[in-house]
Symmetry: C2
Subunit: 285 residues, 2 copies
Amino acid sequence: MNFSQRLRSIQRKNQSLLCIGLDTDINKLPESLFAYGDPIYEFNRRIIDATRDLVCAYKLNLAFYEATGEHGWYTVHQTLARIPEEIITIGDAKRGDIGNSSAMYAKLLADDYEFAATTVNPYMGEDSVKPFLKNAHQGAFILAVTSNPGARDFQYLKVKGHPLYEQVIRRVKVWNTRKNCGLVVGATRPRELRRIRTLAPEMPLLIPGIGAQGGDLRSAVRFGCDARGEMAVINASRSILYASTGDDFAEAARREAESLRAQINALREKQFGPWAKRRKLSRPG
Amino acid sequence: MNFSQRLRSIQRKNQSLLCIGLDTDINKLPESLFAYGDPIYEFNRRIIDATRDLVCAYKLNLAFYEATGEHGWYTVHQTLARIPEEIITIGDAKRGDIGNSSAMYAKLLADDYEFAATTVNPYMGEDSVKPFLKNAHQGAFILAVTSNPGARDFQYLKVKGHPLYEQVIRRVKVWNTRKNCGLVVGATRPRELRRIRTLAPEMPLLIPGIGAQGGDLRSAVRFGCDARGEMAVINASRSILYASTGDDFAEAARREAESLRAQINALREKQFGPWAKRRKLSRPG
Protein backbone atom coordinates (compact mmCIF):
# COMPACT_ATOMS: atom_id res chain seq x y z
CA MET A 1 0.00 0.00 0.00
CA ASN A 2 1.23 3.48 -0.72
CA PHE A 3 0.87 6.16 1.94
CA SER A 4 -2.41 7.51 0.58
CA GLN A 5 -3.93 4.04 0.64
CA ARG A 6 -2.72 3.41 4.17
CA LEU A 7 -4.36 6.61 5.34
CA ARG A 8 -7.64 5.83 3.59
CA SER A 9 -7.67 2.33 5.02
CA ILE A 10 -7.33 3.35 8.69
CA GLN A 11 -9.75 6.26 8.26
CA ARG A 12 -12.40 3.83 7.05
CA LYS A 13 -11.62 1.23 9.68
CA ASN A 14 -11.86 3.65 12.61
CA GLN A 15 -14.36 5.88 10.79
CA SER A 16 -12.25 8.80 11.83
CA LEU A 17 -10.47 11.84 10.45
CA LEU A 18 -9.13 12.64 13.91
CA CYS A 19 -5.42 12.85 14.67
CA ILE A 20 -4.28 13.32 18.24
CA GLY A 21 -1.20 15.46 18.64
CA LEU A 22 0.97 13.94 21.35
CA ASP A 23 2.60 17.27 22.19
CA THR A 24 3.17 16.12 25.70
CA ASP A 25 4.40 18.84 28.03
CA ILE A 26 6.08 17.58 31.20
CA ASN A 27 4.81 20.66 33.06
CA LYS A 28 1.20 19.61 32.50
CA LEU A 29 1.31 16.02 33.74
CA PRO A 30 -0.55 14.82 36.83
CA GLU A 31 1.71 14.45 39.88
CA SER A 32 1.18 10.70 40.12
CA LEU A 33 3.00 10.03 36.84
CA PHE A 34 6.29 11.12 38.34
CA ALA A 35 6.44 7.78 40.14
CA TYR A 36 7.31 6.31 36.71
CA GLY A 37 10.79 6.31 35.21
CA ASP A 38 9.50 8.06 32.08
CA PRO A 39 6.39 10.07 32.98
CA ILE A 40 5.94 11.36 29.42
CA TYR A 41 5.89 7.86 28.01
CA GLU A 42 3.48 6.72 30.73
CA PHE A 43 1.16 9.62 29.86
CA ASN A 44 1.36 8.82 26.13
CA ARG A 45 0.80 5.11 26.73
CA ARG A 46 -2.43 5.73 28.60
CA ILE A 47 -3.65 8.27 26.03
CA ILE A 48 -2.93 5.85 23.19
CA ASP A 49 -4.55 2.90 24.94
CA ALA A 50 -7.64 5.01 25.65
CA THR A 51 -8.06 6.45 22.14
CA ARG A 52 -6.58 4.03 19.59
CA ASP A 53 -9.94 3.01 18.17
CA LEU A 54 -11.00 6.64 17.66
CA VAL A 55 -8.22 8.06 15.52
CA CYS A 56 -6.60 7.70 12.11
CA ALA A 57 -3.27 9.11 13.27
CA TYR A 58 -1.07 10.25 16.12
CA LYS A 59 1.28 13.17 15.57
CA LEU A 60 4.38 13.71 17.68
CA ASN A 61 5.81 17.23 17.59
CA LEU A 62 9.51 16.51 17.97
CA ALA A 63 10.21 19.91 19.53
CA PHE A 64 8.49 18.68 22.68
CA TYR A 65 10.58 15.51 22.86
CA GLU A 66 13.93 17.03 21.97
CA ALA A 67 13.38 19.73 24.58
CA THR A 68 13.37 17.11 27.34
CA GLY A 69 17.00 16.25 26.63
CA GLU A 70 18.81 13.16 25.47
CA HIS A 71 16.12 10.84 26.80
CA GLY A 72 13.52 12.43 24.52
CA TRP A 73 14.24 10.24 21.53
CA TYR A 74 13.89 7.13 23.64
CA THR A 75 10.45 8.35 24.70
CA VAL A 76 9.59 8.78 21.01
CA HIS A 77 10.74 5.23 20.32
CA GLN A 78 8.69 3.77 23.19
CA THR A 79 5.63 5.80 22.27
CA LEU A 80 5.74 4.67 18.64
CA ALA A 81 6.05 1.05 19.74
CA ARG A 82 2.77 1.40 21.62
CA ILE A 83 0.79 2.63 18.58
CA PRO A 84 -0.94 -0.12 16.55
CA GLU A 85 0.79 -0.71 13.22
CA GLU A 86 -2.07 0.37 11.00
CA ILE A 87 -2.50 3.79 12.60
CA ILE A 88 -0.59 6.54 10.83
CA THR A 89 2.26 8.02 12.91
CA ILE A 90 3.39 11.51 11.98
CA GLY A 91 6.78 12.88 12.98
CA ASP A 92 6.08 16.60 13.12
CA ALA A 93 9.66 17.66 12.53
CA LYS A 94 9.41 20.40 9.89
CA ARG A 95 12.90 19.52 8.73
CA GLY A 96 14.52 20.36 5.41
CA ASP A 97 18.20 20.70 4.49
CA ILE A 98 20.51 20.16 1.51
CA GLY A 99 20.12 16.71 -0.03
CA ASN A 100 22.70 14.73 1.95
CA SER A 101 21.60 16.25 5.28
CA SER A 102 17.90 15.78 4.55
CA ALA A 103 18.76 12.17 3.74
CA MET A 104 20.08 11.83 7.29
CA TYR A 105 16.92 13.28 8.80
CA ALA A 106 14.89 10.92 6.59
CA LYS A 107 17.01 7.97 7.67
CA LEU A 108 16.35 8.85 11.30
CA LEU A 109 12.63 9.48 11.02
CA ALA A 110 11.54 7.09 8.27
CA ASP A 111 14.08 4.24 8.49
CA ASP A 112 15.09 4.09 12.15
CA TYR A 113 11.93 5.34 13.88
CA GLU A 114 9.61 4.21 11.08
CA PHE A 115 7.24 7.15 11.26
CA ALA A 116 4.55 6.62 8.62
CA ALA A 117 4.94 10.28 7.67
CA THR A 118 6.93 13.40 8.52
CA THR A 119 6.29 17.11 8.10
CA VAL A 120 8.76 18.90 5.82
CA ASN A 121 9.55 22.56 5.17
CA PRO A 122 9.65 23.35 1.43
CA TYR A 123 11.84 26.50 1.43
CA MET A 124 15.01 24.67 0.28
CA GLY A 125 13.24 22.96 -2.63
CA GLU A 126 13.23 19.58 -4.28
CA ASP A 127 16.45 17.94 -3.09
CA SER A 128 15.57 18.89 0.49
CA VAL A 129 12.15 17.19 0.29
CA LYS A 130 12.84 14.16 -1.91
CA PRO A 131 14.67 12.03 0.71
CA PHE A 132 11.43 11.95 2.73
CA LEU A 133 9.55 10.52 -0.27
CA LYS A 134 11.77 7.62 -1.22
CA ASN A 135 9.47 4.87 0.14
CA ALA A 136 5.95 4.83 -1.29
CA HIS A 137 4.42 3.53 1.96
CA GLN A 138 5.83 6.48 3.90
CA GLY A 139 4.64 10.01 3.30
CA ALA A 140 5.62 13.63 3.77
CA PHE A 141 3.27 16.48 4.63
CA ILE A 142 4.86 19.58 3.12
CA LEU A 143 4.09 22.93 4.75
CA ALA A 144 1.75 24.96 2.56
CA VAL A 145 -0.24 27.37 4.75
CA THR A 146 0.54 27.12 8.44
CA SER A 147 -1.82 27.92 11.31
CA ASN A 148 0.37 30.54 13.02
CA PRO A 149 0.26 34.34 12.62
CA GLY A 150 3.66 34.39 10.87
CA ALA A 151 2.16 32.43 7.98
CA ARG A 152 1.27 35.81 6.44
CA ASP A 153 4.89 36.96 6.23
CA PHE A 154 5.89 34.86 3.23
CA GLN A 155 3.32 32.17 2.39
CA TYR A 156 0.81 34.68 1.01
CA LEU A 157 3.22 36.74 -1.06
CA LYS A 158 2.02 36.98 -4.64
CA VAL A 159 4.06 35.20 -7.29
CA LYS A 160 2.70 35.72 -10.82
CA GLY A 161 -0.64 36.65 -9.32
CA HIS A 162 -0.88 33.65 -7.00
CA PRO A 163 0.22 33.23 -3.39
CA LEU A 164 3.52 31.48 -2.74
CA TYR A 165 1.82 28.50 -1.11
CA GLU A 166 0.16 27.73 -4.46
CA GLN A 167 3.59 27.53 -6.06
CA VAL A 168 4.56 25.11 -3.32
CA ILE A 169 1.50 22.97 -4.08
CA ARG A 170 2.23 23.07 -7.80
CA ARG A 171 5.70 21.64 -7.17
CA VAL A 172 4.52 19.10 -4.62
CA LYS A 173 2.11 17.70 -7.22
CA VAL A 174 5.07 17.15 -9.54
CA TRP A 175 7.02 15.38 -6.76
CA ASN A 176 4.05 13.13 -5.94
CA THR A 177 4.95 10.28 -8.28
CA ARG A 178 4.65 7.67 -5.50
CA LYS A 179 1.35 9.00 -4.13
CA ASN A 180 2.91 9.76 -0.80
CA CYS A 181 2.84 13.56 -0.66
CA GLY A 182 0.52 15.49 1.60
CA LEU A 183 0.19 19.14 2.59
CA VAL A 184 -0.08 21.00 5.88
CA VAL A 185 -2.90 23.56 5.90
CA GLY A 186 -3.90 25.27 9.14
CA ALA A 187 -7.51 25.00 10.31
CA THR A 188 -7.26 28.74 10.95
CA ARG A 189 -7.19 29.23 7.13
CA PRO A 190 -10.61 28.07 5.85
CA ARG A 191 -10.52 30.07 2.59
CA GLU A 192 -7.10 28.77 1.70
CA LEU A 193 -8.15 25.24 2.65
CA ARG A 194 -11.03 25.40 0.21
CA ARG A 195 -8.78 26.66 -2.56
CA ILE A 196 -6.10 24.07 -1.83
CA ARG A 197 -8.59 21.20 -1.99
CA THR A 198 -9.51 22.27 -5.51
CA LEU A 199 -5.82 22.44 -6.48
CA ALA A 200 -5.00 19.03 -4.98
CA PRO A 201 -8.27 17.08 -5.02
CA GLU A 202 -6.90 13.79 -3.67
CA MET A 203 -3.92 14.69 -1.56
CA PRO A 204 -3.86 14.00 2.19
CA LEU A 205 -4.15 17.28 4.10
CA LEU A 206 -2.85 17.54 7.64
CA ILE A 207 -4.95 20.21 9.35
CA PRO A 208 -3.65 21.47 12.68
CA GLY A 209 -5.00 24.39 14.67
CA ILE A 210 -8.33 23.03 15.96
CA GLY A 211 -8.93 23.77 19.65
CA ALA A 212 -6.38 25.96 21.42
CA GLN A 213 -5.42 27.78 18.20
CA GLY A 214 -9.06 28.57 17.34
CA GLY A 215 -9.35 26.81 13.98
CA ASP A 216 -12.73 26.19 12.40
CA LEU A 217 -13.86 22.55 12.57
CA ARG A 218 -16.73 22.93 10.12
CA SER A 219 -14.45 24.21 7.34
CA ALA A 220 -11.79 21.65 8.17
CA VAL A 221 -14.27 18.89 7.41
CA ARG A 222 -16.13 20.54 4.57
CA PHE A 223 -13.11 21.80 2.63
CA GLY A 224 -10.42 19.49 3.98
CA CYS A 225 -11.93 16.22 2.72
CA ASP A 226 -11.60 14.77 -0.74
CA ALA A 227 -14.72 13.97 -2.78
CA ARG A 228 -15.26 10.81 -0.74
CA GLY A 229 -15.14 12.62 2.60
CA GLU A 230 -11.68 11.28 3.42
CA MET A 231 -8.00 12.34 3.35
CA ALA A 232 -8.39 15.21 5.82
CA VAL A 233 -6.31 14.56 8.94
CA ILE A 234 -7.68 16.88 11.58
CA ASN A 235 -5.30 17.34 14.46
CA ALA A 236 -6.16 18.31 18.02
CA SER A 237 -3.60 18.28 20.81
CA ARG A 238 -4.06 20.29 23.99
CA SER A 239 -7.87 20.10 24.11
CA ILE A 240 -7.66 16.29 24.27
CA LEU A 241 -4.45 15.66 26.21
CA TYR A 242 -5.32 18.04 29.02
CA ALA A 243 -9.12 17.60 29.10
CA SER A 244 -8.55 16.72 32.75
CA THR A 245 -5.55 17.70 34.84
CA GLY A 246 -6.16 14.85 37.29
CA ASP A 247 -5.50 11.13 37.32
CA ASP A 248 -8.54 10.56 35.14
CA PHE A 249 -6.78 12.27 32.21
CA ALA A 250 -6.98 9.21 29.94
CA GLU A 251 -10.74 8.73 30.43
CA ALA A 252 -11.27 12.47 29.95
CA ALA A 253 -9.15 12.37 26.78
CA ARG A 254 -11.25 9.49 25.48
CA ARG A 255 -14.49 11.39 26.15
CA GLU A 256 -13.09 14.48 24.42
CA ALA A 257 -11.81 12.46 21.45
CA GLU A 258 -15.14 10.64 21.16
CA SER A 259 -16.98 13.92 21.19
CA LEU A 260 -14.70 15.51 18.59
CA ARG A 261 -14.87 12.46 16.33
CA ALA A 262 -18.67 12.50 16.63
CA GLN A 263 -18.80 16.21 15.72
CA ILE A 264 -16.52 15.59 12.76
CA ASN A 265 -18.53 12.59 11.63
CA ALA A 266 -21.82 14.47 11.89
CA LEU A 267 -20.44 17.28 9.71
CA ARG A 268 -18.89 14.72 7.42
CA GLU A 269 -22.04 12.64 6.95
CA LYS A 270 -24.15 15.67 6.07
CA GLN A 271 -21.74 16.55 3.29
CA PHE A 272 -20.44 13.21 2.06
CA GLY A 273 -22.79 10.49 3.33
CA PRO A 274 -21.85 7.43 5.40
CA TRP A 275 -18.35 5.97 5.57
CA ALA A 276 -17.40 3.54 2.82
CA LYS A 277 -16.50 -0.04 3.66
CA ARG A 278 -12.84 -0.67 4.06
CA ARG A 279 -11.32 -2.54 1.18
CA LYS A 280 -8.46 -4.85 1.99
CA LEU A 281 -5.82 -3.26 -0.17
CA SER A 282 -3.13 -5.77 0.65
CA ARG A 283 -2.49 -8.56 3.11
CA PRO A 284 -1.48 -7.47 6.58
CA GLY A 285 2.32 -7.43 6.75
CA MET B 1 28.38 41.89 23.70
CA ASN B 2 25.65 41.26 21.19
CA PHE B 3 26.07 38.46 18.70
CA SER B 4 27.49 40.68 15.95
CA GLN B 5 30.13 42.01 18.32
CA ARG B 6 31.05 38.53 19.49
CA LEU B 7 31.59 37.44 15.90
CA ARG B 8 33.70 40.50 15.05
CA SER B 9 35.80 40.01 18.15
CA ILE B 10 36.80 36.40 17.45
CA GLN B 11 37.34 37.09 13.75
CA ARG B 12 39.87 39.77 14.65
CA LYS B 13 41.51 37.71 17.37
CA ASN B 14 42.06 34.66 15.15
CA GLN B 15 42.29 36.78 11.98
CA SER B 16 39.92 34.35 10.39
CA LEU B 17 36.64 34.18 8.50
CA LEU B 18 36.85 30.39 8.48
CA CYS B 19 34.18 28.18 10.02
CA ILE B 20 34.75 24.44 10.19
CA GLY B 21 31.61 22.36 9.72
CA LEU B 22 31.76 19.43 12.11
CA ASP B 23 29.52 17.29 9.92
CA THR B 24 31.15 14.18 11.26
CA ASP B 25 30.15 11.01 9.45
CA ILE B 26 30.78 7.82 11.38
CA ASN B 27 31.40 5.98 8.10
CA LYS B 28 34.40 8.17 7.34
CA LEU B 29 36.35 7.81 10.58
CA PRO B 30 39.74 6.08 10.83
CA GLU B 31 39.50 2.56 12.25
CA SER B 32 41.55 3.39 15.34
CA LEU B 33 38.87 5.73 16.71
CA PHE B 34 36.50 2.84 17.30
CA ALA B 35 38.57 1.91 20.35
CA TYR B 36 36.92 4.94 22.02
CA GLY B 37 33.49 4.88 23.61
CA ASP B 38 32.36 7.77 21.42
CA PRO B 39 34.40 7.77 18.20
CA ILE B 40 32.61 10.85 16.81
CA TYR B 41 33.43 12.90 19.88
CA GLU B 42 37.03 11.70 19.79
CA PHE B 43 37.28 12.76 16.15
CA ASN B 44 35.73 16.17 16.88
CA ARG B 45 37.95 16.69 19.92
CA ARG B 46 41.11 16.20 17.89
CA ILE B 47 39.87 18.39 15.04
CA ILE B 48 38.99 21.17 17.50
CA ASP B 49 42.27 20.93 19.38
CA ALA B 50 44.17 21.07 16.08
CA THR B 51 42.31 24.04 14.57
CA ARG B 52 40.94 26.25 17.36
CA ASP B 53 43.36 29.10 16.69
CA LEU B 54 42.49 29.15 12.99
CA VAL B 55 38.73 29.63 12.98
CA CYS B 56 36.03 32.07 14.00
CA ALA B 57 33.35 29.40 14.31
CA TYR B 58 32.47 25.72 14.38
CA LYS B 59 29.18 24.62 12.87
CA LEU B 60 27.48 21.37 13.85
CA ASN B 61 24.89 20.09 11.40
CA LEU B 62 22.44 18.43 13.76
CA ALA B 63 21.22 16.00 11.08
CA PHE B 64 24.54 14.17 11.42
CA TYR B 65 24.24 13.87 15.21
CA GLU B 66 20.57 12.98 15.38
CA ALA B 67 21.12 10.28 12.77
CA THR B 68 23.46 8.41 15.13
CA GLY B 69 20.62 7.76 17.56
CA GLU B 70 19.89 8.76 21.12
CA HIS B 71 23.58 9.19 21.96
CA GLY B 72 23.93 11.91 19.32
CA TRP B 73 22.87 14.76 21.56
CA TYR B 74 25.40 13.71 24.18
CA THR B 75 28.09 13.89 21.51
CA VAL B 76 26.90 17.42 20.69
CA HIS B 77 27.13 18.36 24.35
CA GLN B 78 30.64 16.96 24.73
CA THR B 79 31.82 18.57 21.51
CA LEU B 80 30.51 21.99 22.51
CA ALA B 81 32.25 21.69 25.88
CA ARG B 82 35.55 21.28 24.06
CA ILE B 83 35.22 24.49 22.01
CA PRO B 84 36.78 27.61 23.61
CA GLU B 85 34.13 30.01 24.89
CA GLU B 86 34.93 32.89 22.58
CA ILE B 87 34.62 30.87 19.38
CA ILE B 88 31.16 31.06 17.81
CA THR B 89 29.28 27.74 17.85
CA ILE B 90 26.53 27.33 15.27
CA GLY B 91 23.76 24.77 15.65
CA ASP B 92 22.88 24.09 12.04
CA ALA B 93 19.35 22.94 12.73
CA LYS B 94 17.22 24.77 10.13
CA ARG B 95 14.29 24.58 12.53
CA GLY B 96 11.13 26.69 12.49
CA ASP B 97 7.67 25.93 13.88
CA ILE B 98 4.68 27.76 15.36
CA GLY B 99 5.66 30.06 18.24
CA ASN B 100 5.35 27.69 21.21
CA SER B 101 7.14 24.85 19.38
CA SER B 102 9.92 27.10 18.09
CA ALA B 103 10.32 28.28 21.68
CA MET B 104 11.05 24.67 22.64
CA TYR B 105 13.67 24.29 19.93
CA ALA B 106 15.20 27.60 21.03
CA LYS B 107 15.22 26.45 24.65
CA LEU B 108 17.05 23.29 23.62
CA LEU B 109 19.61 24.90 21.33
CA ALA B 110 20.18 28.33 22.90
CA ASP B 111 19.43 27.75 26.61
CA ASP B 112 20.37 24.11 27.26
CA TYR B 113 23.16 23.57 24.71
CA GLU B 114 24.16 27.24 24.59
CA PHE B 115 24.93 27.40 20.90
CA ALA B 116 26.05 30.93 20.10
CA ALA B 117 23.81 30.80 17.02
CA THR B 118 21.38 28.56 15.19
CA THR B 119 20.19 28.35 11.59
CA VAL B 120 16.47 28.97 11.14
CA ASN B 121 14.05 28.41 8.24
CA PRO B 122 11.93 31.51 7.53
CA TYR B 123 8.93 29.92 5.75
CA MET B 124 6.63 30.07 8.80
CA GLY B 125 7.38 33.75 9.47
CA GLU B 126 8.00 35.99 12.44
CA ASP B 127 6.66 33.99 15.39
CA SER B 128 8.63 30.95 14.19
CA VAL B 129 11.91 32.90 14.12
CA LYS B 130 11.60 35.25 17.10
CA PRO B 131 12.22 32.66 19.87
CA PHE B 132 15.74 32.20 18.46
CA LEU B 133 16.42 35.93 18.82
CA LYS B 134 15.41 36.54 22.41
CA ASN B 135 18.96 36.89 23.79
CA ALA B 136 21.12 39.57 22.19
CA HIS B 137 24.34 37.60 22.67
CA GLN B 138 22.93 34.64 20.73
CA GLY B 139 22.15 34.87 17.05
CA ALA B 140 20.14 33.25 14.31
CA PHE B 141 21.23 32.78 10.71
CA ILE B 142 18.03 32.80 8.68
CA LEU B 143 18.03 30.90 5.38
CA ALA B 144 18.06 33.34 2.46
CA VAL B 145 19.64 31.66 -0.58
CA THR B 146 20.84 28.14 0.06
CA SER B 147 23.69 26.36 -1.70
CA ASN B 148 21.71 23.37 -2.97
CA PRO B 149 20.08 22.91 -6.40
CA GLY B 150 16.56 23.08 -4.89
CA ALA B 151 17.20 26.70 -3.90
CA ARG B 152 15.83 27.66 -7.31
CA ASP B 153 12.40 26.12 -6.67
CA PHE B 154 11.08 28.87 -4.39
CA GLN B 155 13.81 31.25 -3.21
CA TYR B 156 14.15 32.91 -6.60
CA LEU B 157 10.44 33.32 -7.36
CA LYS B 158 9.65 36.92 -8.18
CA VAL B 159 7.53 38.86 -5.69
CA LYS B 160 6.77 42.40 -6.84
CA GLY B 161 9.73 42.21 -9.17
CA HIS B 162 12.20 40.92 -6.59
CA PRO B 163 13.16 37.38 -5.67
CA LEU B 164 11.56 35.87 -2.58
CA TYR B 165 14.86 35.78 -0.71
CA GLU B 166 14.95 39.59 -0.84
CA GLN B 167 11.58 39.67 0.92
CA VAL B 168 13.06 37.40 3.55
CA ILE B 169 15.98 39.77 4.02
CA ARG B 170 13.65 42.76 4.22
CA ARG B 171 11.77 41.11 7.09
CA VAL B 172 14.91 39.92 8.84
CA LYS B 173 16.18 43.50 8.93
CA VAL B 174 13.00 44.48 10.77
CA TRP B 175 13.46 41.63 13.26
CA ASN B 176 17.10 42.61 13.88
CA THR B 177 16.46 44.96 16.80
CA ARG B 178 19.05 43.22 19.01
CA LYS B 179 21.75 43.03 16.30
CA ASN B 180 21.73 39.26 16.42
CA CYS B 181 20.32 38.31 13.02
CA GLY B 182 22.40 36.81 10.27
CA LEU B 183 21.64 35.24 6.89
CA VAL B 184 22.61 32.02 5.16
CA VAL B 185 23.82 32.56 1.59
CA GLY B 186 25.41 29.71 -0.34
CA ALA B 187 28.91 30.20 -1.76
CA THR B 188 27.50 28.68 -4.96
CA ARG B 189 25.48 31.93 -5.40
CA PRO B 190 28.06 34.70 -5.99
CA ARG B 191 25.67 37.09 -7.76
CA GLU B 192 23.10 36.82 -5.02
CA LEU B 193 25.79 37.18 -2.37
CA ARG B 194 26.88 40.47 -3.89
CA ARG B 195 23.31 41.75 -4.00
CA ILE B 196 22.58 40.60 -0.44
CA ARG B 197 25.63 42.38 0.93
CA THR B 198 24.31 45.64 -0.49
CA LEU B 199 20.87 44.97 1.06
CA ALA B 200 22.29 44.08 4.47
CA PRO B 201 25.65 45.86 4.68
CA GLU B 202 26.53 44.86 8.25
CA MET B 203 24.78 41.58 8.88
CA PRO B 204 26.73 38.38 9.56
CA LEU B 205 26.52 36.07 6.55
CA LEU B 206 27.02 32.35 6.96
CA ILE B 207 28.38 31.09 3.65
CA PRO B 208 28.37 27.31 3.17
CA GLY B 209 29.19 25.44 -0.01
CA ILE B 210 32.95 25.94 -0.34
CA GLY B 211 34.84 22.74 -1.22
CA ALA B 212 32.74 19.66 -1.96
CA GLN B 213 29.77 21.72 -3.17
CA GLY B 214 31.93 23.78 -5.56
CA GLY B 215 31.32 27.28 -4.18
CA ASP B 216 33.51 30.17 -5.23
CA LEU B 217 35.95 31.28 -2.51
CA ARG B 218 36.95 34.52 -4.22
CA SER B 219 33.35 35.78 -4.33
CA ALA B 220 32.64 34.54 -0.82
CA VAL B 221 35.40 36.83 0.47
CA ARG B 222 34.88 39.74 -1.89
CA PHE B 223 31.08 39.96 -1.65
CA GLY B 224 30.51 38.21 1.67
CA CYS B 225 32.46 40.66 3.84
CA ASP B 226 31.19 43.93 5.24
CA ALA B 227 33.06 47.16 4.47
CA ARG B 228 35.71 46.28 7.06
CA GLY B 229 36.41 42.87 5.55
CA GLU B 230 34.59 41.05 8.34
CA MET B 231 31.22 39.38 9.13
CA ALA B 232 31.51 36.71 6.44
CA VAL B 233 31.56 33.25 8.02
CA ILE B 234 32.92 30.94 5.35
CA ASN B 235 32.18 27.31 6.10
CA ALA B 236 34.09 24.28 4.89
CA SER B 237 33.37 20.78 6.13
CA ARG B 238 34.38 17.69 4.19
CA SER B 239 37.52 19.16 2.59
CA ILE B 240 38.98 19.79 6.06
CA LEU B 241 37.58 16.91 8.14
CA TYR B 242 38.59 14.24 5.66
CA ALA B 243 41.81 15.78 4.29
CA SER B 244 43.39 12.51 5.38
CA THR B 245 41.59 9.22 5.93
CA GLY B 246 44.34 7.92 8.20
CA ASP B 247 45.34 8.47 11.80
CA ASP B 248 47.00 11.77 10.88
CA PHE B 249 43.56 13.27 10.14
CA ALA B 250 43.91 16.05 12.72
CA GLU B 251 47.30 17.23 11.41
CA ALA B 252 45.98 17.04 7.85
CA ALA B 253 42.89 19.02 8.88
CA ARG B 254 45.12 21.67 10.42
CA ARG B 255 47.21 21.95 7.27
CA GLU B 256 44.08 22.22 5.15
CA ALA B 257 42.51 24.81 7.49
CA GLU B 258 45.75 26.83 7.56
CA SER B 259 45.88 26.79 3.80
CA LEU B 260 42.24 27.83 3.41
CA ARG B 261 42.57 30.59 6.01
CA ALA B 262 45.70 31.85 4.21
CA GLN B 263 43.88 31.87 0.85
CA ILE B 264 40.97 33.72 2.41
CA ASN B 265 43.26 36.21 4.13
CA ALA B 266 45.21 36.87 0.94
CA LEU B 267 41.99 37.63 -0.94
CA ARG B 268 40.74 39.63 2.01
CA GLU B 269 43.86 41.76 2.39
CA LYS B 270 43.88 42.70 -1.28
CA GLN B 271 40.35 44.01 -0.99
CA PHE B 272 40.12 45.35 2.55
CA GLY B 273 43.65 45.76 3.90
CA PRO B 274 45.10 44.22 7.06
CA TRP B 275 43.03 42.98 9.97
CA ALA B 276 42.00 45.60 12.53
CA LYS B 277 43.16 45.30 16.13
CA ARG B 278 40.69 43.59 18.39
CA ARG B 279 38.93 45.96 20.71
CA LYS B 280 38.03 44.59 24.09
CA LEU B 281 34.29 45.09 23.91
CA SER B 282 33.60 43.80 27.38
CA ARG B 283 35.47 42.00 30.14
CA PRO B 284 35.92 38.28 29.64
CA GLY B 285 33.08 36.47 31.42
